[in-house]
């Protein structure tokens, strides 16, 4: 037990000899690639072990079945245009909600209110859509989107205000706001102008002028293609997501405000001495964070078949919490979030195929997702290295410089070149500031 508890860490870190810039760059790239790749491989191997152990039908060769399960998982997520469309349907709200979580993480805020902000966005958009059915589409659709976004922003803003000026912890306030929104939304869904006349606890279907067209329908109309619009349901929200991703990147990496929020997130003392208005930054970040989630709620309602809300659906919807996993997996960088939500969204949508074809329960995907998080965040490489036999420790060995903050790996693979420059600059300023103190 004692040995397990207190392994002395290797602290001496031999600096590599001076190398050319290119070699250094390549080595840094290699080091940042190792972690996510190893993590992905480990996660899938561990998932395979779970299948092997639990596989009930011992007559079928279990290894074949693992291969079969994983193949269908990937063909089911990216293998065809149809599965790609289904994956994107999952990815759209997930990406937006992840951006929402990511921007608050960047500011050092743990916003677990994406679920509630998303619900607020969807509910308000639904209310506008059902009460203004006579409006033309060009007016109604933007109004609904703006109102939904604003609703999310208000819910986020309340948490931000309470955090900034009253010191109320955002974890508590966002959870409370989640449940307030869920209950009020259930009330609205069940009350009069909105509820269906058939006695079921859901709202009427939005009129056609309040719906977002699917990409397939647009393509059929403009390019005279013949996509089946019932199969390919991914809608024009995809463009909103692309815009949102660009906005997030610009905001974080290219604006003064983005710089300020990162300083607030990394070192509030430094932010204070640099004259950054901390309270206002926190408030604004939570507003923006809520807006991303509110937008997700509005788009998901307006874009996907059904076009209505059911009572108690929002409190069961996993998107808000999946978004936390995605944001952490992508280490809150722009490309990290995009890649990991494409990855996890793909796993989610592929898992239904995996169940239908290979008879493996889709919840296995959750296990893989969690293992991935573990392997990405745990600094296991130095520990594994320590127990390797001597001949396997090459002298370049020390190299994989493990990032100081965990969960950086996938993001560095992805976003290193994008947000990295700004961050380096950031560090310099902060160390300067600390010297001043």
């Amino acid at each position: 037990m004692a040995e397990l508890l207190a392994p002395p860490e290797e602290t001496s870190e031999r600096r590599p000899p001076v190398a050319s810039g290119l070699r250094m760059g390549l080595r840094a790239l290699g080091a940042s690639l190792v972690r996510p790749l190893v993590a992905v491989i480990f996660a899938f191997v561990a998932g395979a072990i779970v299948i092997l152990i639990t596989w009930p039908d011992k007559t079928v060769d279990p290894f074949t079945n693992v291969i079969h399960a994983y193949t269908t998982l990937f063909t089911g997520s990216y293998g065809s245009l149809y599965s790609l469309s289904n994956t994107l349907v999952e990815v759209i709200p997930l990406t937006l909600a992840s951006l929402s979580v990511a921007i608050s993480f960047r500011t050092g805020l743990f916003n677990i209110g994406a679920a509630g902000q998303l619900a607020a966005g969807g509910t308000v958009a639904d209310m506008i859509g059902l009460t203004h059915q006579s409006w033309p589409g060009w007016l109604l659709v933007p109004t609904m989107i703006v109102a939904g976004t604003a609703a999310g922003a208000i819910i986020g803003g309340i948490a931000g205000f309470l955090k900034a000026w009253r010191g109320a912890h955002e974890v508590v306030t966002t959870i409370m706001l989640n449940w307030i929104v869920f209950w009020v939304s259930d009330y609205i869904i069940n009350s009069n102008p909105f509820v269906t006349p058939f006695g079921t606890p859901e709202t009427k279907v939005l009129p056609i002028n309040a719906q977002l067209p699917s990409l397939a329908a647009l393509s059929n109309q403009w390019f005279h293609t013949h996509f089946n619009t019932f199969l390919y349901t991914v809608d024009v929200s995809l463009f909103f997501v692309i815009v949102a991703v660009i906005v997030y990147w610009l905001l974080i990496a290219r604006t003064t405000f983005g710089y300020e929020l990162r300083v607030v997130g990394q070192n509030q003392q430094a932010a204070k001495y640099a004259g950054i208005p901390i309270k206002r930054t926190i408030f604004l970040v939570m507003i923006i964070s809520g807006a991303f989630s509110g937008l997700a709620g509005a788009l998901n309602l307006m874009g996907q078949p059904g076009y209505n809300l059911a009572a108690q659906a929002y409190s069961q919807l996993p998107t808000g919490f999946d978004a936390i996993a995605v944001a952490l997996l992508g280490n809150t960088t722009t490309i990290g979030v995009v890649i990991s939500s494409l990855f996890l969204g793909g796993l989610r949508s592929g898992s239904t195929d995996m169940q239908a074809v290979a008879h493996v329960d889709p919840n296995l995907v959750l296990v893989i997702e969690a293992l991935l998080l573990f392997f990405i965040t745990a600094e296991f490489i130095p520990i594994i290295r320590r127990y390797l036999p001597a001949w396997m420790k090459s002298n370049r060995g020390r190299a994989p410089v493990v990032p100081a903050r965990p969960a950086q790996a996938m993001a560095e693979l992805a976003g290193g070149g994008v947000d990295g420059a700004g961050e380096a600059q950031n560090e310099v300023v902060i160390t300067d500031l600390e010297k001043e103190q």
Partner: protein, 327 residues
């Protein structure tokens, strides 16, 4: 009319019986969270630990029952299994965040996800196609201790003396943990490790060992809460049945400023939401009003948080892996 309904619900003993039942459920993981965070390890994994506990308790209880054992023994072993399952989840959190120095929030979220995924997956594997876990017969629930005449006192009897066994255990644990943290040497050490691990280490305290113990304790308590939920309240296991209660316990912990008693007050307020739900639905003509009223405890919490509680400061070293080499 509106206020009349609320008032009548508030004086009904049913409301308070359910409120206390759910408060007991929430307070266990909340205390676990307090102990873990006081020692400097952020723990948002109570949700997953509870879920693992609920799963283990139902599965083991049913398996023992199928062996034809005495129902009380089945429930007892099931409850122990729940505690162990919660502890196992906590062990993962401890190894990953203390030895592997992982980001503790990431690890916590991963535990919540893996608990949801694994339990749902195992339900699918174990139970015959798509049927789910059967609900437990009445004799496989957590027993209610017999308080004799106390239980028949009007209003007070059902509220205070007709709860399940683990409820009373939770009350004892609450008092015990408050005393432990603030009145004993061990508690002082735990808090020292959470505030300034370097200083504690210099004073000869084994930082990692203490953190391990505290994280494990939080898992054991959350696992027990899982048994409370599955064997005491629900009588069945459904995938994802904790439904955010672990996060509400987390909120109660912060609301209570990282003290067991404060967290318990938070749990009472949050549990009022569950307590009010059913009486409100019965009393009001339109069941829809109940939806709106259910939001009330959460609104009250927000107001209380802003007006009375104010700023909460977590332990200084909360969430920072201890590295003896630094400083």
């Amino acid at each position: 009319m509106f206020w009349q309904i609320i008032l009548r619900s508030l004086i009904s003993s049913n409301t308070w019986q359910t409120t206390l039942e759910f408060a007991g459920l929430l307070v266990l993981p909340a205390i676990g969270g307090v102990i873990s965070e006081r020692s400097g390890v952020v723990n948002i994994a109570m949700e997953g630990m509870m879920l693992a506990g609920a799963f283990a308790s139902v599965m083991i209880t049913l398996a023992m029952h199928n062996l034809g054992l005495n129902p009380f023994l089945c429930v007892l072993v099931g409850t122990l299994a729940a505690i162990l399952a919660g502890g196992l989840m906590a062990l993962i959190h401890a190894v990953v965040s203390i030895n592997f120095k992982a980001d503790q929030i990431v690890s916590g979220i991963a535990i919540n996800i893996i608990a949801l995924g694994l339990t749902s997956y195992l339900v699918y594997v174990i139970t015959p196609a798509g049927q789910g876990v059967p609900s437990l017969p009445g004799n496989l629930r957590l027993p209610t201790p017999n308080f004799g005449p106390l239980a028949s006192i009007p209003w007070i009897g059902p509220v205070l003396f007709q709860q399940n066994l683990v409820f009373y255990l939770a009350v004892l644990i609450l008092i015990g943990s408050q005393l432990l943290l603030f009145r004993t040497n061990l508690g002082l050490r735990i808090r020292a490790v959470g505030e300034h691990p370097q200083a504690a280490d210099t004073a000869g305290i084994n930082v990692r060992l203490l953190r391990y113990m505290c994280v494990l304790t939080s898992g054991l308590l959350s696992g027990l809460a899982g048994a409370y939920l599955a064997l005491g309240v629900a009588g069945i296991f459904n995938p994802g049945m904790t439904n955010g209660r672990g996060y509400i316990a987390l909120a109660a912990m912060i609301f209570g400023k990282y003290t067991p008693l404060g967290a318990a007050i938070g749990c009472l307020i949050f549990a009022l939401g569950d307590g009010l739900g059913i009486p409100l639905q019965d009393l009001s003509n339109s069941p829809n009003i109940a939806n709106l009223l259910n939001a009330l405890p959460y609104i009250l919490t927000l107001i209380a948080l802003v007006g009375l509680v104010g700023r909460t400061t977590p332990p200084a070293a909360d969430g920072i892996p201890y590295d003896p080499a630094s400083e």
